[in-house]
C-alpha cells in the first residue's frame, strides 16, 4: 500500500458558540475561529501512523474550499502529511458545496494520484452529513470501512473494526478502499514546532474543480437555518404516581 489520500475540512472550531445569521440562510462564519474538523485530525493521524509503521509511503492531504483552506492543509502537513492539494472553491460555489461534489473530487484525485487508500473523518461537525466516504467509495467502486475505530493491515487486505449501533463490527476489505475515521480510532498528536516550521516547505498544489471535471452545481438547497427551540423549564413532581400519571397524560407511555 503506498499512497494514502486524506480529506480534511476547515470547519468552525468546536469550542465556538454558533450563531445563526438573522436572514436564516446559515450560520455566522465571518471572524469566527475555524480549525480542522476533529474527525479529520483523527484521519490524518491514522495516515501518518501508517507511514511511520511503513504501511504507507506517502500521505497526501486534500481540502476543498477558499484560500483559508490552506491553513488546514498546513496543519495536516505539520502533523506529518507529505504534500497537500488545495481544490479551490470560493464564494457562492463554496456556500453550496456538498458531499456529492467533494466525493467526486476525491474520487478523481484518488485516480489521478493513484491512491491506495482514502481516509476521511466520518462526518464534519458543521453539516454532520456522514456521506463523503460512502459516496467516494461508490464512485470509485471501492470497498468502504466507515466509522472505523481500528484499522489493521494484513497481507494486501484490511481488517477494520467499525463502531455501529449494536456494538463493534469487524470486516475485511481488499485494497484499495475508502475509510472514515471515528472518534476512538486514535488520539491525534500535537504538531510539534519543528514540524510546523517544516510544513511551510512541503509542496502545496492548487487545482480547481473544473480542472478535475467536477460540476459544482448544487443538488440540495438549504431552505432555512434556525436555532433549536429554547429548552422548556421542567416541573418538579411530588411522587412516582404523579410522574406516571403525567407521562400517561403526555402520551409517553
Amino acid at each position: 500500500m503506498s499512497r494514502v489520500l486524506v480529506g480534511v475540512k476547515r470547519v468552525i472550531d468546536y469550542a465556538v458558540k454558533i450563531r445563526v445569521k438573522p436572514d436564516k440562510s446559515g450560520v455566522v462564519t465571518d471572524g469566527v475561529k475555524h480549525s480542522m474538523n476533529p474527525f479529520d485530525e483523527i484521519a490524518v493521524e491514522e495516515a501518518v501512523r501508517m507511514k511511520e509503521k511503513k504501511l504507507a509511503s506517502e500521505v497526501i492531504a486534500v481540502s476543498c474550499g477558499p484560500s483559508q483552506a490552506q491553513e488546514t492543509l498546513r496543519t495536516a502537513l505539520a502533523m506529518g502529511a507529505d504534500r497537500a492539494i488545495h481544490v479551490e472553491v470560493a464564494g457562492a460555489e463554496y456556500d453550496t458545496l456538498q458531499p456529492i461534489h467533494v466525493a467526486k473530487i476525491l474520487a478523481k484525485l484518488s485516480q489521478d494520484e493513484k491512491a491506495d487508500l482514502v481516509i476521511v473523518g466520518k462526518q464534519a461537525i458543521d453539516d454532520d452529513s456522514n456521506q463523503t466516504a460512502q459516496m467516494t467509495a461508490a464512485l470509485l467502486d471501492w470497498p468502504q470501512g466507515t466509522f472505523a475505530s481500528k484499522i489493521e493491515k494484513t497481507d494486501g487486505a484490511l481488517t477494520i473494526t467499525r463502531e455501529i449501533d449494536g456494538g463493534l463490527e469487524v470486516i475485511k476489505t481488499k485494497i484499495p478502499a475508502v475509510l472514515s475515521a471515528d472518534l476512538r480510532l486514535n488520539e491525534p498528536r500535537y504538531a510539534t514546532l519543528p514540524n510546523i516550521m517544516k510544513a511551510k516547505k512541503k509542496p502545496l498544489k492548487k487545482v480547481s474543480a473544473k480542472d478535475l471535471g467536477v460540476d459544482l452545481a448544487p443538488r440540495i438547497k438549504v431552505v432555512s437555518v434556525e436555532d433549536p427551540p429554547v429548552r422548556q423549564a421542567g416541573s418538579i413532581i411530588p411522587d412516582v404516581d404523579t410522574l406516571v400519571a403525567k407521562l400517561k397524560e403526555g402520551g409517553h407511555v
Binding site: 498546513r74 496543519t75 500535537y190 519543528p194 511551510k200
Partner: protein, 422 residues
C-alpha cells in the same frame, strides 16, 4: 514641524545612543520597508495555536495540583520539550530552530496564561542558555546547547546570591585561576531550576581587586551540576509560582576547565547583562499572560454571579475594573511585542525591554488583585482560580530585575539622552 515628528525626534536618541556593543551571535532580521505591522505571520499564528492548545490540554488541568505540592512538573516539561515548545532559540547549527525572541514571547504569554509557575519551569532554561547563545563559541554551543536538544534536560542562570541581587557587581562568588582550571567557591541563591538543571551559567568574581571596574572583574562560566563540589540546597517554599524549583547552590572548590569560560576572563558582567535584552521581553510576556488570565476569569465570573438582581458585570464598578485590566493587558502586550521585535531586528532594546517588563509586572499584579476583588469572598478561597494568580504575580515585580532596577535603567537613559541633545 508637526508635534508627532518632534516627539519622535526627541525620543529617538534614547535608543540610538545604546548601540555600543552588538553581542547577538544570531543574525538580525532585515527591517521591512512596509512600516508598522500588528499582524502575526502564519508561522507565528501556528506557534501560538500550538502553545494555546498545549496550555489548555497539558497545563491548566494540572496547574492547581503542582501549586499545592510544589513538585517540579517534569511530565509537563518533558511534553513541552517533545512538542518543541522549549529551546526554540537554540541556533540551527546545534540542532535548534533559531527562532527569535518574539516567538519566545508568544510562547511565554500563552503558557503563563495557564500557569506562570509551570511557564517559569519551561522557560527559565532559556534564560540559562542565553549567555551561551550570545557569547559561547561553537564548541561550547554544540556541547551544552546540543545536549538540551538531544534529551529533555534544562539549564539555569546562576548570578544572584544571598547577599547580592540587584547589585550584581556586589556578588562574592569567586573563581581563581589554577593552571588550566578555575577553582570556584561561593554561594548562589534563588536560582530557578537550581535543583533540576543539568548545567548552570555562573557569574563569579575573577579579579579580587576591589578597585577593578565591574566591566572587567567578573567572568561567566558554564558549570555542570554533576561536578564535585556543586551542591544545590533545599527547594525553597515560595508564595507563588510554586511549581517552579528555586534553590540556593553552594560551590566548594569546583574545578572548571578553561574551555568553559565564556569569551574570556573579565567578560562576564557584560554577558550577564546582555542576556537580559533577550530574556526580559519573554518575562514581560509571561506577566501579560497572567494578566490576561485574570481578566478572563474575572469576566466569566462577573457574568455568572448575581447581586442586587443582576450579574455583577452590569455594575459599572465591576465593569470598570475589567476595562482597566484590559487596558493593562493591551498596553503590556504592545510593549513586549516592540521590545522583542527590536532585538530580533538588531536594534538595542535595553530600555524598551525594561519598559515592557516593568509595565507588565505592575499591570499583572493589579489585574490579579482586581480579579480577586471581582470574585469577592470566593476570590480569597483556594477553590477558585484567582488567589493563585495574585500569589503568582508578585514575583514578576522582583525577578529578572526588580521594578526599581528597571526604573533605574529607564531614568538613566532619559537623563543621559537629555544631557546629550540641545
Amino acid at each position: 514641524m508637526n508635534p508627532l515628528a518632534q516627539i519622535v525626534r526627541a525620543t529617538r536618541p534614547i535608543y540610538r545612543k545604546l548601540s555600543t556593543t552588538a553581542t547577538t551571535a544570531s543574525a538580525a532580521k532585515p527591517i521591512p520597508t512596509t512600516g508598522f505591522c500588528f499582524e502575526l505571520t502564519d508561522e507565528q499564528k501556528a506557534l501560538q495555536e500550538l502553545a494555546r492548545k498545549f496550555t489548555k490540554d497539558e497545563i491548566i488541568p494540572v496547574a492547581g495540583q503542582y501549586d499545592k505540592t510544589g513538585e517540579y512538573p517534569w511530565p509537563v516539561v518533558k511534553k513541552a520539550w517533545e512538542v518543541g515548545l522549549m529551546n526554540g532559540h537554540i541556533p540551527e547549527h546545534c540542532g535548534g530552530l533559531g527562532l527569535g525572541v518574539f516567538e519566545a514571547c508568544i510562547l511565554s504569554e500563552e503558557l503563563a496564561y495557564g500557569c506562570s509557575g509551570i511557564m517559569a519551569a519551561v522557560y527559565i532554561t532559556e534564560v540559562g542558555q542565553t549567555p551561551i547563545i550570545i557569547a559561547g563559541n561553537k564548541e561550547q554551543q554544540k556541547k551544552y546547547l546540543g545536549r538540551l536538544i538531544d534529551e529533555p534536560l534544562v539549564a539555569a542562570y546562576g548570578v544572584t546570591e544571598p547577599g547580592a541581587g540587584s547589585d550584581v557587581a556586589g556578588i562574592k562568588t569567586r573563581a581563581e585561576k589554577k593552571g588550566d582550571e578555575w577553582i570556584l567557591n561561593g554561594q548562589k541563591m534563588w536560582i530557578t531550576n537550581g535543583g533540576v538543571a543539568n548545567w548552570y551559567f555562573v557569574l563569579a568574581r575573577t579579579n579580587p581587586d576591589p578597585k577593578c571596574p565591574a566591566s572587567k572583574a567578573f567572568t561567566g562560566f558554564i558549570v555542570e551540576r554533576e561536578w564535585p563540589g556543586v551542591t544545590p540546597g533545599r527547594k525553597e517554599q515560595n508564595m507563588g509560582q510554586r511549581a517552579s524549583d528555586t534553590r540556593g547552590i553552594t560551590f566548594e572548590d569546583v574545578r572548571i576547565p578553561k574551555e568553559n569560560v565564556l569569551i574570556g576572563e573579565g567578560a562576564g558582567f557584560k554577558i550577564a547583562m546582555g542576556a537580559f535584552d533577550k530574556t526580559r521581553p519573554p518575562v514581560a510576556a509571561g506577566a501579560t499572560g497572567l494578566a490576561q488570565r485574570a481578566l478572563h476569569e474575572a469576566t466569566k465570573y462577573s457574568l455568572e454571579r448575581k447581586t442586587f438582581g443582576v450579574p455583577i458585570a452590569r455594575h459599572q464598578a465591576v465593569a470598570f475594573m475589567l476595562a482597566d485590566m484590559a487596558i493593562g493587558v493591551e498596553t503590556a502586550r504592545i510593549a513586549w511585542q516592540r521590545a522583542a521585535w527590536m532585538v530580533d531586528h538588531g536594534q538595542k532594546n535595553t530600555v524598551m525591554a525594561s519598559v515592557a517588563k516593568c509595565h507588565a509586572s505592575e499591570i499583572a499584579n493589579k489585574a490579579a488583585t482586581d480579579a480577586v476583588q471581582v470574585f469577592g469572598g470566593n476570590g480569597f478561597n483556594t477553590e477558585y482560580p484567582v488567589e493563585k494568580l495574585m500569589r503568582d504575580a508578585k514575583i514578576y515585580q522582583i525577578y529578572e530585575g526588580t521594578s526599581q532596577i528597571q526604573r533605574l535603567i529607564i531614568s538613566r537613559e532619559i537623563l543621559t539622552a537629555a544631557t546629550q541633545t540641545n
